[in-house]
């Protein structure tokens, strides 16, 4: 797995969007949208705490979160962020269940202590999975990103757990 990452270019996010501590799953996927289609859910991200965000953000933008990002329920908030086009997400600390869903739905979400102080909203952000490092091009500051075990990283980068099970003949998906 390590060799797969050699010579990889860092991922660049043109803009970071900053969120605070304890951003919960209900803010990313509000209750009234729980039983809507994934597309409709993705349109509702942050509608209660940051109305209009889904229209303002652009493909590949990054989310910078604080402590316990993704606290709350098992609802597939990570899928909504991926479908919105979030390039990657870095937080001081990720909630364990949200991290699971990030792995399983293929959202690049990592812990990066110090990240909320190192970036201002609107900054660009670079993420190198090869070096497990985040960089703020404006300040030149680099921060260590907490590495994710290879088994989980390969599921996350492979688009999540469903393609894996399908390849093993355990499930059949009728749509992507």
């Amino acid at each position: 797995m390590t060799s797969d990452r050699r010579n990889e270019q860092p991922v660049l996010a043109k803009k970071v969007w900053k969120f605070g501590d304890n951003i919960n799953t209900d803010l990313m996927l509000p209750g009234p949208y729980l039983y809507r289609s994934p597309e409709e859910q993705a349109r509702a991200v942050f509608m209660n705490n940051r109305p209009g965000w889904v229209d303002a953000m652009k493909q590949g933008d990054a989310i910078i979160g604080g402590f316990n990002y993704g606290m709350g329920s098992s609802r597939p908030a990570a899928r909504s962020l991926r479908m919105c086009g979030v390039g990657f997400l870095l937080a001081e600390a990720l909630n364990g269940l949200f991290f699971r869903n990030s792995v399983n739905y293929g959202l690049l979400a990592f812990e990066c202590p110090g990240v909320s102080k190192a970036f201002e909203e609107g900054d660009e952000a670079e993420l190198s999975i090869e070096r497990w490092e985040a960089r703020n091009p404006r300040t030149g500051q680099t921060l260590a990103v907490t590495p994710v075990p290879d088994m989980l990283l390969s599921i996350m980068r492979g688009g999540g757990v469903l393609p894996l099970l399908e390849a093993q003949g355990l499930i059949r998906r009728h749509k992507a």
Partner: protein, 422 residues
């Protein structure tokens, strides 16, 4: 190196000698619980193989009885799935139905020393049974059902030792509000409960506390086993093999804290967040309410209904206030009926709903409107959780909620427990 209960259970289920914080443990799943919402057509896929149908349970809870065509569709798909693979533990709408974690408790599906997964965050409820139970996502459930396995990133463990005994009128919910208010979130950590005072807590009280572990953002929340537990499991799940698991004497903890249960008082969580948000009841006393709710996987137990009935017996819910009570399972509903609690609640003016996640998730059976104020004995008070984003939800014990329903404003239940022996 000694292991905590979580580490020992994961090591056993992973057939490995040692599990430590930082490891990714790949383990065998003893029980995989699917919900009605697991079968949402948008998320469900065609399963071609089930690893072991005996290890799967299907329990309908989020949207029952089906309030929408979509909810009904989920149930149709789930029934077909259960029939196709011969899954006998199908808890369909009817006498055996209930909120998944409450059914798991009623039937002791959460077996001591084993691993249980379910696609609902409050699955750590099963920790009351000395079970490593964990809420996972939909894809994890497909993984568990088809491969029989799950993975967990192992966190460090925080240990709580209880001493003493709760005073009358103080409940497991107040223990939780004390821990959440004092120590805040336990992100990426496991929680262990034990100590000499633990056995004074009923199984139902332990369930409340284990369920609320989710709100601490804990991974696994596990109670030590005792005679009360092992007897309960033998009676409720006869013939099932289980392995009560205690921590090693030299287990390593991130921190170890002692809580004197006798020193605790009723607390209330303010709206919008559960942790770091507890205040003394007196600080919010007099706050007007529109709705009072008792239910959910956290507070729909027979003990909770008994307390509610004790408080409202012979009294009336305040004019303009809706008191809604949701038993955790239909079996609990019947037990409360036989004990006379349901009649008392209805006579007082409460509405008793069938077992469902209903009002707690803002789904149905008690959704809040704009600017309404609720006090709840359930799992969460997040902004918009129970309805309109402008509604506000305070959280307290079932006793506090019931007393508040009578007064029409947040009120101490202390007077109803005066003279009780602790």
């Amino acid at each position: 190196m000694g292991m905590t209960m979580t580490e020992k259970i994961l090591a056993r289920a992973g057939k490995t000698a040692q599990v430590k914080p930082g490891d990714v443990a790949v383990v065998e799943v003893e029980t995989a619980v699917l919900l009605d919402m697991s079968f949402l057509p948008e998320g469900w896929v065609e399963v071609l193989k089930v690893h072991d149908p005996k290890k799967v349970a299907v329990i309908y809870d989020h949207m029952v009885p089906a309030p929408t065509i979509q909810a009904a569709t989920c149930q149709v798909i789930g029934r077909e799935f259960a029939a196709k693979f011969g899954i006998e533990r199908l808890h369909d709408v009817g006498p055996d139905q209930g909120i998944a974690h409450a059914v798991v408790a009623d039937r002791a599906y959460a077996l001591p020393g084993s691993v249980l997964v379910c696609a609902d965050s409050h699955t750590c409820a099963g920790g009351a049974f000395n079970c490593a139970a964990r809420g996972v996502g939909g894809p994890d459930m497909l993984y568990a059902v088809t491969t029989g396995k799950a993975w967990f990133k192992v966190g460090e463990t925080v240990r709580y030792d209880f001493t003493g005994k709760l005073k009358p009128g103080v409940s497991a919910k107040d223990i939780f509000l004390t821990i959440a208010g004092t120590h805040g979130a336990h992100v990426n950590q496991n929680v262990e409960y034990g100590g000499p005072g633990m056995s004074s807590l009923s199984i139902n009280g332990r369930r409340t506390l284990a369920t609320m572990g989710t709100e601490l953002s804990a991974d696994f929340v596990i109670f030590e086993p005792d005679d009360l537990l092992t007897e309960y499991v033998r009676q409720r799940n006869p013939g099932a093999a289980f392995h009560p698991t205690t921590p090693d004497a030299d287990a390593t903890y991130a921190v170890r804290r002692t809580i004197d249960l006798g020193s605790l008082e009723p607390l209330v969580a303010l709206p919008d967040a559960v942790v770091n948000n507890s205040v003394k009841l007196s600080q919010v006393a007099g706050q007007k309410i529109d709705q009072a709710f008792i239910g959910s996987c956290a507070n729909g137990t027979l003990d909770d209904l008994a307390v509610a009935a004790k408080v409202v017996k012979g009294r009336k819910v305040a004019k303009g206030v809706r008191m809604i009570v949701t038993p955790g399972t239909q079996a609990t509903y019947r037990a409360a009926l036989k004990a006379g609690y349901i009649e008392i609640l209805l006579e007082a003016g409460a509405v008793v709903t069938p077992a469902t996640c209903g009002a707690c998730i803002g789904g149905h059976m008690g959704v809040l409107g704009p600017n309404e104020i609720c006090i709840t004995a359930s799992t969460r008070n997040f902004k918009g959780r129970m309805g309109d984003p402008s509604s506000r939800v305070f959280m307290g014990s079932p006793a506090t909620v019931a007393a508040s329903a009578l007064a029409g404003s947040i009120t101490s239940a202390a007077e109803f427990f005066e003279g009780d022996v602790g």
